[in-house]
């Protein structure tokens, strides 16, 4: 008889479910992929149903259900914060309390009621702390027998940052930084001030930062103002926010706009308005401060644990620019980052914590390269799903008997400049498309970055694209000597692939700089010659490896542009029907689903009854 555990993350943002069977991760998925609602926070009913189905189990087979945080502890933080700040925060208090009094205080009952929709027997319920869930998601699936654990996010119950040590099947929490002092919330405040959405636009701020001019008077001034007025950073990486400037504890915005305007001499940027150089410099200053804190925290983790390896999770661990620099600093011999480092990953972490800590099950021989199986933990679809969509939409396709022949043809189309939707195997878990739900393009094409942003993804023109590169060829293009299977490390493009930039490069307008051909792989070379790398190993994802290899045989380049299969504000596609709809709504040229290839020109006219751009809220 197997022993199975269901991990759940829900009711805050990015709901997800994960299934652990005899300590092995069998399936995990985000609820948003099924409901088609970005960052869906509702109970992950579809995801839970799916993971149980994937494991061939029902509710009565589960020995426990683990929820990824402790609701009462979070409620305690809310009450104490409002009590401490009263009479400030009344509006925020009145907005927050109904949700708690009506729903979240009764979390156990709410979860049981939802779980009844899946099956009648609710097993034991466990509630590991938010940061313990993050820590468990970082350490247990990692390849290390022993490692330091660093978790950094906005806030969980009280904790915003923790340092711990994982050894065997135990996790020991050693240091904790509590709300409101939070590196994640500091970064979110800059996200908000630069006109992006909190909780989803943080990666845009990170993508904007390289447009800032390092060493410029304004960037240096902004950084000094942050350090002098907004945050007091201590030697061990702990920090104190100056709450005179922040409004998130008592209000409904991240910061006090008037105080920030007076400090930086720069008004809060309106969403979707033009991006000017001062915002780029501010983004760079915020990124630099964030990196400095992360480096100090990593040094502290090294000092107090004495471990040679580091594992990381929490939303801030998705800052792949900081991760790449941390790796190059060499504080630790090696590091591993949970691919679903945000709150969705809490579902996996809660399940692991329940297994190893709650049930004291041993952790024998950590899996290599790790236990996440490439993060391909979601549903797969067979050809009958493609046949059904073809009937429904009268879609025309070519069916290949031989997958290698499909790869050869798709590689040729890519080399000719086509943009291809690529849908294969199991869906990814975590925020990145890793080659199974991806949109692909030619990295050498001078206008691919512009085309993908503006005509396919309908998103901001400044945003960069990432390369998926063959494991064997990574050293040919990038200065990175480690595996980066989850697109969580940024590294420089090698000098040998770079092209000369004009002397006045930094003085050029944003888009003049952006569209300057900086390398022979311009579509994946960011403005500062960096790239967010995904290494493709044949043993982890053979179909994707074969495609890139076919592209290499045709062009000589062992890498392609890989971006998530969605448009702005849309969750990554889950089913072939989602993929076909996205394909038809955009200017994508081809769609490959399994061995089926759809050519845009052959498809019947696409008529939508509603304006689909209103279906997905801009992120």
């Amino acid at each position: 008889m197997v022993e199975a555990l269901l991990g759940l993350s829900a009711y805050y943002h990015d709901s997800a479910a994960a299934l652990l069977v005899d300590g092995k991760l069998v399936a995990a998925a985000h609820e948003e992929r099924f409901t088609r609602k970005k960052h869906d926070s509702s109970f992950p009913l579809h995801a839970a149903r799916y993971v149980l189905e994937e494991g061939g189990l029902s509710m009565q087979d589960l020995s426990a259900i683990a929820f990824y945080d402790k609701p009462y502890l979070k409620f305690e933080r809310l009450l104490e914060t409002y009590h401490g700040l009263a009479p400030q925060g009344l509006r925020s208090f009145l907005s927050a309390m109904p949700v708690w009094i009506k729903e979240k205080l009764f979390m156990r009952k709410m979860l049981k009621d939802e779980l009844k929709k899946i099956g009648s027997d609710t097993p034991q319920m466990l509630f590991p702390e938010h940061h313990l869930s993050h820590a468990a998601s970082a350490f247990y699936p990692s390849p290390f027998e022993e490692a330091a654990i660093l978790t950094i996010d906005g806030v969980g119950e009280w904790a915003t940052t923790t340092i711990g040590r994982g050894r065997g099947n135990t996790i020991e929490m050693l240091r904790e930084l509590d709300f409101p002092h939070s590196l994640g919330l500091l970064y979110s405040a800059f996200t908000y001030y630069c006109g992006f959405k909190v909780n989803s636009g943080e990666y845009k701020l990170m993508g904007l930062a390289p447009y800032g001019i390092p060493g410029s008077e304004q960037t240096l001034k902004y950084k000094q103002l942050i350090l002098d007025h907004l945050v007091d950073i201590r030697e061990d990486g702990s920090l104190l926010l100056n709450m005179d400037y922040f409004n998130f504890a008592a209000g409904l915005t991240m910061c006090h706009d008037a105080e920030w305007e007076a400090l930086f001499g720069l008004p809060k940027r309106s969403p979707e308005s033009d991006l000017t150089q001062p915002y780029m410099n501010l983004a760079l200053a915020a990124q630099q401060v964030t990196e400095d804190v992360i480096f100090l925290l990593a040094e502290t983790a090294k000092n107090i644990t004495g471990c040679n390896n580091l594992t990381m999770a929490g939303g801030v661990a998705l800052n792949c620019v900081a991760n790449g620099k941390l790796l190059r600093r060499g504080i630790f011999n090696d590091m591993w980052i949970q691919p679903a480092a945000g709150d969705a990953g809490g579902a996996v972490g809660a399940a692991y914590a329940a297994w190893h800590i709650g049930k004291d099950r041993p952790r024998n021989n950590p899996a290599r390269p790790d236990a996440m199986q490439g993060s391909y933990l979601g549903p797969r679809f067979e050809s009958d799903a493609v046949q059904r969509l073809s009937k429904k939409y009268r879609a025309k396709y070519s069916l290949y008997d031989d997958f290698s022949a499909l790869c050869t043809d798709v590689a040729k189309l890519l080399a000719d400049g086509a943009v291809i939707g690529w849908f294969q195997g199991r869906m990814e878990y975590g925020p990145r498309a890793l080659g199974n739900r991806s949109i692909l393009g030619d990295p050498c094409s001078p206008d691919m970055q512009k085309k993908l942003n503006l005509k396919i993804k309908y998103r901001e023109g400044f945003r960069p694209f990432a390369p998926a590169v063959l494991e064997e060829d990574i050293g040919e293009y990038f200065s990175l000597d480690r595996p980066s299977p989850y697109m969580l490390l940024v590294a420089p493009v090698l000098e040998s692939h770079r092209k000369q930039v004009p002397d006045n490069y930094d003085q050029l307008q944003m888009y003049d700089r952006l569209y300057h051909q900086r390398s022979d792989v311009p579509a994946i070379t960011h403005i500062d010659f960096s790239a967010r790398i995904q290494r493709i190993s044949r043993s982890t994802n053979e179909p994707f490896w074969k495609l890139i290899n076919a592209f290499k045989e045709r062009t000589g380049y062992g890498l392609i542009v890989n971006t998530s299969f969605n448009v702005r504000g849309e969750p990554i596609v889950c089913s072939p029907a989602d993929a076909y709809r996205c394909f038809m709504r955009t200017e994508m040229d081809y769609l490959a689903v399994g061995n089926y290839l759809f050519k845009k020109e052959d498809q019947p006219d696409w008529e939508e009854k509603e304006n689909w751009r209103e279906e997905f809220q801009l992120d």
Partner: protein, 49 residues
């Protein structure tokens, strides 16, 4: 009632008995809210979720 048992356990472990009057007041308000309103919707701010 499971909720009261859990809540009491939490207050005991955390030694936060001073929260009891606040929680009781909130529960009274809560009853009113449940009787008078529709679904409670969380505002989109990180920290009060």
């Amino acid at each position: 009632m499971e909720f009261l048992r859990d809540l009491w356990g939490f207050l005991k472990v955390r030694k936060k008995f001073w929260l009891i009057p606040i929680i009781l007041t909130l529960l009274l308000f809560g009853t009113l809210i449940v009787l008078t309103s529709g679904t409670a919707v969380a505002p989109f701010i990180y920290t009060i979720f």
